[in-house]
Amino acid sequence: MTESTETLIEIKNLTFSRGSRKIFDDITLSIPKGKITAIMGPSGSGKTTLLKLIAGQLKPDSGKVTVEGLNVHQLSRKKIYQLRRKMGMLFQSGALLTDLNVFDNVAFPLREHTKLPEEMLEALVLMKLQAVGLRGAKHLMPSELSGGMSRRVALARGIALDPEMIFYDEPFVGQDPITKGVLVKLIKTLNDSLDLTSVMVSHDVDEVMMIADYICVVSEGKLIAQGTKEEMLKESTGYVNQFIKGLPDGPVPFHFPTVSYVEDLTSSNKSSLL
């Protein structure tokens, strides 16, 4: 990471557990302003949890998260809601309000937080919908949209209040190649044209490699690697190499840990299988 980049989000010694399971164990990372940072890791490594911790929806066991110099988890409820106006979040499912149509979903944050006259509001919403290419779908209900379209509407809603940062939760999961291409283009264009800071949680290596400036890899609660895309690609051994190249065997073994194969087959005491 170059010295000149300003840090927007800083995570220091973050530990978080669910029940007795430790999701994050002493993680420290920083997210630079104006760039696309991808947080990668296998399924179940708590990437979504990390976004919720940054947005203050979850509280860590220890450590701190600062956004624009503010310690998120020490803010009052009111202050945290003020901070969230500067954040947009794209949920995996889109999370559109099911009782509102596309137009009203995008207009929702504007209606809640501003007192704009209806004509101006309409113009703004149409601009946001145009940006994601769905101006023509403004009358549809969320149940009439495909998964990819829902995500694009959610993206339009996410940028409705002109946030400074936007979080993407697994934006490419379960999408066809065309939709993936559209989303890749949208994330990149929006980041550059709106001067956003984008944080993307994903395990789709190809798509991430196309647009991310920085990459952090987490696994089993630890931060394994952090650096620019080029630095990641240079890794030729270890976990990062296995993850980026999608190798079936490596530091993450193919076999679930158990007794040796021979021992298992030859043992007369079958209870060891249990």
Binding site: R77, Y81, Q82, R84, M87, M89, F91, S93, A95, H113
Partner: protein, 265 residues
Amino acid sequence: MSLLVNKVQNLLQSLGKGFLSNVEAFGRGSLFMWSLLLAIPSVFFRFDLLLKQIYVAGVLSLPIILMAGLFIGMVLSLQGYTILVKFSAEEAVGTMTALSLLREIGPVVGGLLFAGRAGSALTAEIGLMRSTEQISALEMMAVDPLKFVYAPRFLAMIIALPLLVLIFNALGVFGGYLVSVSWLGVDSGAFWSQMSSEVDWREDVVNGMIKSVAFGFLIAIVALFQGVNAIPTSEGVSNATTRTVVHASLGILGLDFVLTSVMFT
């Protein structure tokens, strides 16, 4: 021997665990109720949200309340008549119907129906909003779900149930009139005059209304709490919906006994 000790230990452990998790749930419920009550004033600035929820909880429950009220009034007066006629007191059937409805059956049956119709729907709605991340999305859009989702629904239920119970009672009395006067031939004048002289505004009508407000409060808090704490899967939401109906119904019956013993003894 050590096996026995182990078993006893396990039993004690699970007992303690169960007790602790119940205490924790109770604590979380109380905290939730407290934050809900604090969010209520905000509803008065968002009348549109409240009106919509009163429509959803109240107006949409009308058909079941109307039908149930009518039939229960008819059955009550039919049963009442067959007993009272033995003592030649069949003119008291109007009083009997009205008093049973106003004091007990209106609030209780109305409440049970409301828990099944509106309470379960509320739990399912909130549970699904959570499982589809809509609640999270609201939080991220800096819209407080307490003020935007929970508080309007909570208040709407407390307002809707007493109104529904009033309608239930009125339909019940009308059903009683149909059966006893139009069908069984009780004198119409006696039916109404005995009723109006025996039924007391404060003692019967107001007490019944107080009951229905209390039941509305109970149903709303149970339904919301179950929805908010539902495990966000289809099975979790379905279990939470069932729990809402069971807990709210039992709660109504228990609370009714307490309220009756305070009000009418």
